[in-house]
């Protein structure tokens, strides 16, 4: 049976039922959710959508709904734990998991009945063969040190299996990781296989991929490969616009391939602000220092762009200056050590005024989702962000863009102050930086995605600023106050910033172990295991344990 047909047949089961959608709080999940919603609506599949931001919310939602639904779809959550163990569902409950988190828990992979993982076949999962893990009981009786106290054979077997899984997991972590296809693209593939793909869905898939790129979760090569895949779909859906005579009305939505500047939000901001607040330019020009600022002026002068023009809203810049802007900037940038100022991406157009790059949407949606303005329960932000992905909600999108500008500015200022005050210190096996309560905008960084973004940008800038060769290769752990009353901090670990980095993040496991060994009060609630919360008092012993663990 061809793989595609097999997938569609399995998934079609889903389309005949009432379904509960549990969706994680990240932009890729939102995009995948929009695509799946569109597919369900097309086929009149009744569903309920519940946003979840962590394992606790997932369990709660499952318990609340398990009497009403037999089919659950989990988006960007659930793959990296033993799902059946945690949720303890009935035998006739089915889970369809579309999750870009890795590594996938082996138990999920080998479950034949209740768990269906949505992954592409060319996603090299590198999962150990079934026989390696679930070996015959007889063989192992001789090898293992089983107690002879008459315990049930199934108990022995399960204990043994757990041991083997442990060992295998450790082995796998040292092996090559699987490429992670973003969930939105997986959903788009599903739509395509069902011949129900639309331009709207394609755009969401693009945004999902761009989210992974913005958050630095995939390698450059993977990004370019996936862009190539999407480019074929884009041509297929949007070729009518290339033909002058048969082109569509200006109000119709279309997607175009762009080889555009990677300056964040530059078309909705001023070029100057964008140069200052994009981590690539800020880190390479070292804009936190006085020499850096001078270099920026030289850079602009090299391109012949007057300061007055560059500080204006981009749309108000002189047309003559905008004409060959991309090529001009690229040329000058390479003189200043920035060879990759342009990046392959896509843009969306509808109407005369509305043009957005995929990265614009990512920044806007992420800011809406993690907005600190208190307006009802946390799920309200999720709903707002979900809405902003529909073209009818431009007001929300613009709100998101404004919030994103604030966020990017806050990030750059925080990065500058951390570097200038030497807040990033080497702890041996990793770098460490902790934000103090009272730092401006520190509230923004109590949210996981914002903190991760800050950490990535900080690490990039630090690597450019330090002369210590060894420090340049270290990963970074970043802490920020989460809830002052409760006395908790949020902590994230990110992999090192190197050219050949495969972006794999092993901190999840490390955090778990360190917490265990020190009895620290930690909460591993996030689907991304490299983000945890812990009590401020336990921080030092936790860090000490990490240092000894990773040395």
């Amino acid at each position: 049976v061809r793989f595609d047909t097999y997938v569609v047949n399995t998934i079609l089961l889903l389309f005949l039922q009432r379904v509960l959608l549990l969706v994680a709080s990240d932009v890729d999940a939102l995009c995948a959710c929009k695509i799946l919603q569109a597919l369900f609506q097309c086929d009149h599949v009744q569903y309920t959508l519940v946003p979840v931001s962590g394992w606790q919310e997932l369990e709660t939602a499952f318990l609340e709904h398990k009497d009403q639904f037999k089919y659950f779809v989990l988006i960007n959550c659930g793959a990296n734990v033993d799902l059946l163990e945690i949720l303890q569902p009935e035998e006739d409950t089915f889970f369809f998991v579309c999750d870009s988190h890795r590594p996938i828990n082996v138990v999920n992979v080998y479950n034949e009945t209740q768990i269906k993982l949505l992954v592409k076949p060319d996603d090299d999962l590198d999962v150990p063969a079934y026989d390696d893990i679930f070996r015959d009981e007889e063989e192992e009786e001789e090898e293992s040190e089983a107690e002879s106290d008459g315990s049930e054979p199934s108990d022995k077997r399960r204990r043994f299996e757990e041991e083997v899984i442990e060992r295998t997991m450790k082995r796998r972590q040292r092996r090559e990781w699987e490429a992670r296809r973003c969930s939105a693209m997986v959903m788009f593939d599903l739509a395509w296989m069902m011949s129900k793909d639309l331009n709207d869905m394609l755009w969401w898939a693009i945004v999902g991929l761009t989210d992974q790129w913005v958050q630095d979760k995939i390698t450059q090569m993977k990004y370019v490969t996936d862009i190539g895949i999407l480019q074929r779909h884009v041509s297929r859906h949007n070729h009518r616009n290339e033909d002058e005579e048969n082109s569509l009305s200006i109000d119709c939505m279309r997607i175009a391939f762009e080889y555009d500047l990677r300056l964040a939000l530059y078309q909705h901001w001023s070029l100057y602000e964008s140069l200052c607040n994009t981590s690539y330019t800020s880190a390479n020009l070292k804009l936190w220092s006085v020499q850096g600022q001078k270099r920026l002026q030289e850079f602009l002068a090299d391109m012949g762009l007057p300061l007055k023009q560059v500080k204006q809203k981009f749309n108000s810049m002189d047309i003559s200056l905008k004409e060959n802007l991309k090529e001009m900037i690229e040329e000058s940038a390479s003189k200043f050590g920035m060879k990759d100022l342009r990046v392959q991406t896509f843009s969306i157009h509808f109407g005369f005024k509305n043009k957005f790059l995929a990265s614009d949407i990512v920044y806007a949606t992420a800011s809406l989702m993690e907005s600190i303005e208190k307006e009802g329960p946390e799920t309200t932000n999720f709903i707002k962000a979900l809405d902003s992905l529909s073209r009818g909600n431009l007001d929300k999108l613009h709100q998101g863009l404004d919030l994103a500008k604030k966020q990017l500015r806050a990030i750059q200022q925080t990065v500058a102050s951390c570097i200038c005050t030497n807040l990033v210190i080497s702890q041996g096996p990793f770098l460490y930086c902790s934000l103090m309560e009272g730092t401006p905008d520190v509230r923004l960084f109590s949210k996981p995605v914002s903190l991760c973004l800050l950490s990535k940008y900080l690490l990039k800038s630090f690597v450019c600023s330090t002369k210590n060769k060894r420090c340049k290769l270290l990963p970074l752990i970043m802490a920020a106050p989460m809830d002052v009353e409760q006395g908790t901090v949020i902590m994230v670990g990110i992999p090192p910033e190197t050219e050949s980095s495969d972006k794999k993040n092993f901190f999840g496991r490390a955090f778990e172990k360190a917490a265990e060994s020190t009895n620290s009060r930690t909460l591993h609630n996030h689907f991304d295991m490299s983000i945890i919360e812990l009590k401020t008092e336990d921080r030092s012993k936790f860090l000490d344990a990490l240092i000894s663990l990773l040395s």
């Binding site: 009403q68 009802g376 329960p377 799920t379 529909s390």
Partner: protein, 195 residues
């Protein structure tokens, strides 16, 4: 003076815009009817006197008659307009009215409502084949069979006819058949989302 109370009733209805049903003013109605009775009796007396020769009373009699007609018109308008509003409530809320509204209705109005309900039900059963046709559904032609709704407040479990329940929590979204949602949309628990 003459006709004030009756007009007062009409004014109250005029102020209650949007089909809202104010409480039934039994006391004011009684007073208006009392006024009419008084006018009528005085006219009775004066007509006999006028027949006996006092022709100067004729204008007074005519005036009182006009007052009577005016009162009658106001009171009938009051009662009729209330009935129209009550009829609209059947289409708005369904066959069980919320308690708050029922308190505002007089016993006779409740009786009228029940009879109207019965009449409507009989008619609906008679059209559309075996099961009849529920005319109170889909008053505007729907664009789709299923709609996406978002829950605006915690409502709890909502049971659908076929036995399945849906848990309505604030900010959850659902994709359900249109007819199952209409009631809750009208009540403001669910919000229809247009994509």
């Amino acid at each position: 003076m003459a006709g004030e109370r009756a007009v007062g009733l009409v004014r109250e209805l005029q102020r209650a815009a949007g089909g809202h049903l104010p409480p039934f003013r039994a006391e004011e109605l009684r007073q208006a009817l009392e006024e009419m009775r008084a006018l009528y009796e005085r006219n009775q007396a004066d007509v006999s006197e006028a027949k006996a020769g006092r022709t100067d009373l004729i204008f007074l009699i005519r005036f009182r008659h006009c007052c009577l007609l005016r009162n009658q018109r106001c009171i009938v308008a009051y009662l009729y307009d209330r009935l129209l509003r009550i009829r609209a409530l059947r289409w708005e809320y369904g066959s069980i009215l919320p308690n708050a509204i029922q308190f505002h209705m007089s016993a006779e109005e409740v009786e009228w409502f029940n009879r109207y309900k019965k009449s409507l039900a009989t008619y609906m059963r008679s059209v559309g084949g075996e099961e009849g046709l529920d005319l109170t559904q889909d008053i505007k032609p729907p664009k789709s069979l299923y709609i996406e709704v978002r829950c605006l407040k915690d409502y709890g479990e909502f049971e659908i006819e076929d036995g399945t329940t849906v848990l309505l929590k604030k900010n959850s979204q659902h994709f359900l058949p249109r007819w199952k949602c209409e009631q809750l949309i009208r009540q403001g628990v669910l919000e229809h989302i247009l994509s």
